[in-house]
Subunit: 448 residues, 2 copies
C-alpha cells in the first residue's frame, strides 16, 4: 500500500481536508447544518472509495453514515466504526492556525479533527479503497460513522438496535485511540467509561454587592469550591459513597503484565511541564489512567470573569464534572450515586441542582482473538516491533453498546499519539502515523 | 426644596439621564473615551448649576472633575466627593432594560449607575443649584468627582496630594452608600477596607484529554477549589495566618449600641431567597457585614464552560478573591499576607500566581462632630425620624486617603436602599429617595 499512498497522497489530503473544513461540533446546537454537510461528504467519499452503497441515515440526533460492500456472504465481515463529529475548538486564542482550515507543516496535519476522529476514520476509507481497487478485498466491509461521539453517543445505541441485521459482522474495527509511542505501538484492549454531570449552585436570587453582604450570605462560588474539594480525599480517592463498590481490582499478575509497557515518568512530566504527578495512592501513573477510575472538574464558572476587579457576591456558580469509570462500574449507577451524594452534601444556605450530561460504560476485550492477532501481526510488520496490549484512559461510550447489542468485540487499532493534543488547541496528526495506519489496516485485511 | 424639585423635575431627569447614557465602565479599557465624555458632561452640569469654575483635570488614570463656588473665604467649606464611573453591566442577559438607556417606571430610575454613584452625586449638584439660585448658600462648596472608584481609586490619592491646597475644606460629604431602610434612615459612620486579588493556577502546559490523563495529572480547577475551600474554616474564620492580628474587637457596649439598628432576619432571607444565612461564628448578620472582615470569591473560571460536555483536563484555572477589611487592618498588609499564604499552600504539582488588583483601607468617623449632627438633624426633618448610626460593609477605598491627606473626616449621607441592587443587573434608584436626598442635603447646608 506504500506505493499507492505515494501516488495518491495529494488527493488523499484534499479529501481529508474537505472533511476537516466542516466545523461538525456536536456539542453546539448551531452546528446542526454542519453535521449534515459532513455526513453527506463522508457518504460521498465512501462511494468514491468503492462502496456498493452509502448513505446518510436519520437518528434521534445527528445522522449516521452507513455504507457497505458485500463481496461474498460466506466471507467474514468487518464493521468499521468512527465518528465525524469533533470537540469544540475553544480556547480559540490558543490556536496557532484556524482550527477549521487545516494546514500541513512539521510533518503533520493541523486542525480540529485532524486525528480525532476524521483523520483516523479516513485511514479506513483509504485502506478499503486500496483493497477494492487492487482487487485484494476478501472480506465484506461495513462502515458506521456517527456524529455524536463527543457528546456521548446518545442516539446511536437505538439506531444500532433498529439496524441490527444490517450491521451484522464478525468484528468491530475502530481507530479512535492513541498508541503508547511511535517506537512502542500498542493496541487498546480496554477503555474507561464516563459519567459527566453539571452542578449548579444558587445562593441569593440576584448578584449582590460583596461589601454589603459579604460575610453574612453564603457565596455560591465558595460553596461550590467546598463541595468539589470534598469529592477527592487526601489519598486521591473519590469520596462518593459506593463509588468503588463495583471496581474490578486487578490481580498482581495482571498488574505486572500491564506494567511491561514502557513508560518514562521524567519524559511524561517534561512533556506536560509539571513538577510532579498526582493521583490515587498505591497506583502508578499508567494504572491511574488505565485501570482506576477518576474524577475531574472539566469546567467551572461563576461571578465576574472579565478584566479588572468587580466586587460581586454572585447568585450562581457552575461546574462540569467528569468521572472516568472502569469495569464493572456502570455510568448509570455512578451518575445516580454522584447526584445523591452532591445533594446530600449541599449545605442549607444554597440550592444545588445536578444535571447528567453524558455517560457510557467501559469495556475489556480479549487479546486471544483472531482479530487481535491479525491486528498485532499487521502492526508488527509496519512498525518492525510487536505491539503491546494497553488500557486506554479515554472513553468511547458506544463500544460497550456495540458489544452488548451486536454481540461482537470492538478492536481498537488507534494510531494517535499524545503529541496530537486531541480535544485541545493545535490538534494535529503526524503524516507518518496517517500512512502507517493505512498500511496496518490494509495488512489487517490480509491477516484476518 | 420640595417645590423646586416639583418645578424642575423633568429637567433633572434629562440631565441625570445624559450621565447614565454614557457607559463609563472603569474596569474596561475600551471605555476610556466614555470616561472623558462623562467627566466633561459632569463639569458642564456643575457650571450650569452655579459653580464659579468647573473643569476636567488629568490624573494618572481617568480624569477628575473639579468645580467650586467660593462665596466667602471666612465661611465653612464643604468638599463633595462622588464618582462618575460605574461597574460593568454583566451579566447582560439578566437586565430587563438596556443598562445604558435609563427608564422610569415603578417609582424608580432603572439603569447602571442610577444609584451608584451617578444618581447619588447628582443630588448634590441639584441641592447646590437650589441653594445658589435661591440665594441661601452660606458655605463654600467644592466638588471632586473621580472616574476610578469602582476599580479602587488607584490615581486619586496622588491627585489629592498634588491638589491639597485647592481641596482644603472642613468636611468631605459623600453620598455613595445605603441606608438601612426608608423607615429607618441611617448615617454610615464607618466602612470596610478592601484587598482584591486574582489567583491563577497552572497545571499541565496545555489542555489535556481528561480520559488520557485524568487521575494521573493534577487538575488545576480541582486544585484551585481545594485552595479556595481551605481559606475559610468551619467556624467561618479566614485561615490566612495573621489575618485577624489587627482587627479591632468591639467592646460589648459598642456591640450593644450597634445592635440597636433594627434588623429583621426573616425579611432579609426572604429578600435574598435563601433558607439560611452563613458567616463567622459568634457574630450577628449585621456584625458580619459591619465590624468583621470577610473573604469572597467574586469570580472563578477555567476549562470548558460552553454548552454540552467537553472532556478536558484544562491547563489553567482562575479566581478573583475579595477580602473586606475592618479597622485596623490595612489593605497593603493583608494583600501581602494573602499572597504569602496562597503561595505557601500551593501544591508542588501546579504553579500558582497571585496578582493584586485593588485595595483600600477602612475607616471610622465620630458621631459627635458638628457635621454628623447637622446631617442627622436634616435627615430627621425629611424622614420624620432620627437616623441611626450604622457601619457600612462596602468600601470607598479613597476616603481613608482623604482623611489622611486632607485631614478632614468624610461624612456618609447615603440614600441608596438594598432594593437598588447596585453592582447587579437591574440597578435602580427610587425617585422618593432621589428627592429626599436632595432635600436632606439642602437642609444639611442650613444646619451645618
Amino acid at each position: 500500500m506504500k506505493k499507492y499512498i505515494e501516488q495518491n497522497k495529494e488527493r488523499f489530503f484534499e479529501e481529508l481536508f474537505s472533511l476537516l473544513r466542516i466545523p461538525s461540533i456536536s456539542a453546539k446546537k448551531e452546528h446542526k447544518g454542519d453535521m449534515v454537510r459532513c455526513a453527506e461528504r463522508l457518504a460521498e467519499l465512501l462511494l468514491e472509495a468503492g462502496a456498493d452503497e452509502a448513505g446518510v441515515y436519520p437518528s434521534d440526533g445527528n445522522p449516521v453514515v452507513f455504507g457497505q460492500k458485500i463481496v461474498n456472504p460466506e466471507w467474514k465481515t468487518v464493521l468499521i466504526y468512527g465518528h465525524y463529529d469533533v470537540q469544540p475548538a475553544e480556547p480559540l486564542e490558543k490556536w496557532k492556525s484556524d482550527p477549521f482550515e487545516p494546514e500541513i507543516h512539521d510533518g503533520a496535519i493541523w486542525g480540529r479533527g485532524a486525528n480525532d476522529d476524521k483523520g483516523q476514520l479516513f485511514m479506513h476509507v483509504k485502506a478499503f479503497e486500496f483493497m477494492v481497487r487492487t482487487g485484494q478485498l476478501r472480506h465484506n466491509v461495513k462502515f458506521m460513522f456517527e456524529g455524536e461521539e463527543e457528546i456521548g453517543s446518545p442516539s446511536l445505541p437505538a439506531w444500532i438496535r433498529d439496524n441490527k441485521e444490517r450491521l451484522a459482522a464478525d468484528i468491530c474495527l475502530v481507530s479512535d485511540t492513541t498508541m503508547i509511542s511511535e517506537k512502542v505501538p500498542s493496541i487498546n484492549c480496554g477503555m474507561r467509561g464516563l459519567a459527566y454531570l453539571e452542578v449548579k449552585v444558587t445562593g441569593p436570587n440576584k448578584d449582590l454587592h460583596s461589601g454589603h453582604y459579604g460575610g453574612a450570605v453564603a457565596n455560591p462560588i465558595n460553596v461550590l469550591c467546598d463541595m468539589i474539594s470534598s469529592l477527592i480525599d487526601k489519598e486521591g480517592r473519590i469520596t462518593v459513597p459506593g463509588f468503588y463498590d463495583d471496581v474490578v481490582e486487578l490481580s498482581d499478575a495482571d498488574r505486572a503484565q500491564l506494567s511491561r509497557a514502557p513508560f518514562d515518568l521524567e519524559e511524561y512530566k517534561e512533556f506536560l511541564d509539571i513538577a510532579e504527578v498526582k493521583g490515587e495512592k498505591g497506583y502508578t501513573t499508567m494504572e491511574r489512567t488505565g485501570i482506576r477510575p477518576c474524577l475531574d472538574c472539566c469546567g467551572i464558572w461563576g461571578g465576574y470573569t472579565g478584566e479588572g476587579a468587580k466586587t460581586v457576591l454572585p447568585s450562581e456558580a457552575h461546574a462540569k464534572v467528569s468521572m472516568r469509570l472502569v469495569p464493572d462500574q456502570t455510568s448509570e449507577k455512578i451518575t445516580e450515586l454522584f447526584k445523591k451524594h452532591i445533594l446530600s452534601i449541599a449545605p442549607p444556605y444554597v440550592k444545588v441542582e445536578v444535571t447528567p450530561c453524558e455517560g457510557g460504560d467501559g469495556f475489556l476485550i480479549p487479546i486471544t482473538s483472531d482479530a487481535y492477532k491479525a491486528a498485532s501481526k499487521a502492526m508488527a510488520e509496519v512498525y518492525g516491533i510487536e505491539p503491546v496490549p494497553s488500557r486506554g484512559g479515554g472513553s468511547i461510550a458506544v463500544l460497550a453498546e456495540v458489544q452488548k447489542i451486536l454481540g461482537i468485540d470492538p478492536l481498537l487499532m488507534g494510531f494517535g499519539l499524545e503529541r496530537d493534543t486531541i480535544h485541545s488547541p493545535n490538534e494535529s496528526y503526524l503524516l507518518r502515523q496517517l500512512f502507517a495506519g493505512m498500511e496496518s489496516i490494509a495488512l489487517f485485511y490480509r491477516y484476518y
